[in-house]
């Protein structure tokens, strides 16, 4: 971050003035945010220590929910599946969306069409997406396996009907669906890079890779930070895609934390336990975000 008001003109009256000024900007949004999001979220933190079942009163049970989690095999399965999804989904989506953005950030014929096409998976009904991809993945009659057999794969995977391959299949579709979304954000980020920087680098004889390394990457840093944080949280919270693609199956092979929370909370009405699982999910996300935040701050300085 560049110079700020405080650093420029120190003084405690100024500090007060800045606080008022800062809050005057934040307040319109904060009012709505505090009442409608923050208060329920704080309630959730309380509920996590109770046995609330959505009705009536909630009895305080202390850490019982968290103790139960440690011995809950399904929770551990959901946690490790979520990590599995995240570890592959983040780099894949980040790389592909940046590549798409770089490719489509130019004046060329039909660029509007290609950008729209790349964004379309995000807009298309998720039901249609699940249906089509499941059919493409169909183990016996699906085009993907027919193609694999044709090129000589003797025993093609069962994809969404196989406990081993269902997660890769879901990761593939998740990446395909979201790359256009993050491409859009990268495109907006690329607009903020002054073209003069590239001109100057070109005059200095920098190669395309050098220009990418030394101009595009550093200038995109705030955007990349935003995208990485959103992508991390989004991957840890993956829900609707899994629900329509595999519903967690076969068995528990694609069961993820969000779905586990939903099942415990709304199918089995154990909202206290569901809330405590959400807190674990929250803690994982927030600690990664804080690390990203600190790394971002350091590279800023």
């Amino acid at each position: 971050m560049a110079t700020t008001l405080e650093a420029r003109r120190p003084g405690s009256r100024l500090k007060w003035r800045n606080t008022m000024l800062g809050w005057s900007f934040i307040l319109p949004n904060f009012l709505g945010f505090a009442v409608l999001t923050l208060v329920p979220v704080i309630a959730l933190f309380y509920i996590a220590f109770t046995n609330w079942n959505a009705f009536g009163t909630a009895d305080w049970v202390g850490l019982a929910n968290f103790q139960r989690m440690v011995g809950d095999k399904s929770f551990l399965v959901a946690l490790s599946n979520t990590v599995y999804y995240t570890v592959f989904h983040i780099p894949l989506t980040l790389g592909l969306s940046l590549a798409l953005a770089l490719l489509l950030n130019r004046k060329m014929r039909g660029v509007a069409f290609f950008r729209t096409a790349a964004f379309f998976p995000y807009v298309t009904s998720i039901v249609a997406i699940a249906v089509v991809w499941n059919m493409l993945f169909s183990p016996e009659s699906g085009p993907i396996n027919q193609f694999l057999t044709m090129v000589g794969v003797s025993n093609p995977p069962g994809w969404t009907t196989s406990a081993d391959w269902s997660m890769p299949a879901v990761i593939l579709v998740g990446t395909w669906r979201e790359m256009g979304y993050y491409m859009l954000l990268f495109l907006a980020g690329l607009q903020t890079i002054p073209p003069e920087l590239y001109e100057a680098a070109r005059v200095d004889g920098a190669s395309a890779w050098q220009r990418f390394r030394n101009i595009t990457v550093p200038c995109l840093r705030p955007t990349t930070f935003f995208i990485t944080v959103m992508l991390t949280i989004g991957s840890f919270k993956v829900f609707d895609l899994i629900l329509v693609m595999t519903n967690g199956g076969p068995g528990q092979s694609t069961l993820v934390l969000s779905q586990y929370i939903y099942t415990k909370g709304f199918v089995e009405n154990q909202l206290g336990y569901a809330s405590s699982v959400s807190i674990v999910l929250f803690l994982i996300c927030i600690s990664i975000t804080v690390v990203q935040f600190l790394v971002n701050k350091r590279s800023e300085a």
Binding site: T3, W23, L36, L38, R115, T116, L136, Y198
Partner: protein, 297 residues
């Protein structure tokens, strides 16, 4: 890997206005090949949409079959007439449009305003407050939706369109997005304006906002699309069929014993069209953004 391979053949990465250079045959061939590759990729990406369009022209029981039927045996064009008669599509579209516009407008206004406070004014507690904002994104909504629903019911907002506006308009997403983009705006610009006697509000209005057009454009698009396609929010908050949104309405074609899949697809195609148009029109801001804003001066 993906980055390097994608980047090497394109010398003008990141540059919105590549210089015109004399074309060689090699370049033309490369260009044609590039278009073919892009065309194939686009076709692959649009496949589910194609299936959706084709299924919207089938009978309900022909939508799912083994093997996949890409082209309907008989085209049931009447689905596009029936959907207006069998359903309240016009009400759903109207509600969804009203909600999407209201939410997008509020999110843009309050989000971009708050982001200025987070990005350009330094005051005690700012970073922690910002982390609280980002932190709430990390809490799964399905975990706190019941407490939130109880709160909204106490405020007499549930089962009104206001509930969805309240739910979506003040999200942390817009604040975060805008803050990140403001940080790319060089501080020298605001500095110069301050010396010229512009207040912070003036700087926000005259300097920062015009410079963040691409970010505002993407926030507009993403907020609009998210509100337009939201299902779980309306599902929890809206009961009265007069208030249904397009996604909620379409799902009502699946009743317990019977499922009108062809009509769902018909409705889905119709519901994607407005977004496609908005995107086609809006995407040009990603090329023009800063080029027209006079940053050079």
């Amino acid at each position: 890997m993906a980055i390097t391979t994608a980047v090497r053949p394109i010398p003008e990465i990141g540059s919105p206005l590549p210089r015109r250079r004399p074309r060689s045959t090699k370049k033309t061939v490369g260009r044609v090949l590039g278009y073919v590759a892009l065309g194939l990729a686009a076709a692959g990406v649009l496949l589910p949409f194609f299936w959706m369009v084709m299924s919207s022209l089938k009978t309900n029981n022909a939508v799912f079959s083994v093997p996949i039927q890409w082209i309907p045996e008989t085209f049931v064009w009447s689905n596009y007439v029936d959907i207006w008669q069998k359903s309240d599509m016009s009400t759903w579209l109207k509600n969804t449009m009203v909600l999407s516009l209201a939410v997008t407008a509020l999110q843009l206004l309050t989000g971009s305003f708050a982001a200025y406070g987070f990005s350009k004014v330094r005051f005690p507690g700012r970073d922690v407050l910002f982390l609280v904002y980002v932190g709430t994104i990390a809490v799964p909504w399905q975990a706190y939706m019941i407490p939130q629903f109880i709160l909204m019911s106490k405020l007499h907002l549930s089962n009104t369109l206001w509930s969805i506006v309240a739910l979506q308009a003040f999200g942390a997403f817009g604040v975060f997005l805008m803050k990140q983009f403001y940080e790319t705006v060089p501080e020298e610009l605001s500095e110069a304006a301050r010396i010229d006697g512009l207040s912070e509000y003036g700087i926000y209005r005259r300097i920062i906002l015009p410079l963040s057009v691409p970010a505002l454009a993407s926030l507009t698009l993403l907020t609009f699309v998210n509100t337009w396609n939201d299902y779980l929010g309306p599902l929890i908050y809206l009961r009265d069929p007069n208030l249904w949104t397009i996604q909620l309405g379409l799902k009502s074609f699946v009743s317990q014993y019977n499922a009108e899949y062809a009509l769902i697809m018909t409705g889905s195609v119709l519901s994607v069209l407005p977004i496609a148009i908005i995107f086609m029109v809006g995407q040009r801001y990603f090329v023009e953004g800063i080029a027209t804003s006079g940053l050079k001066g």
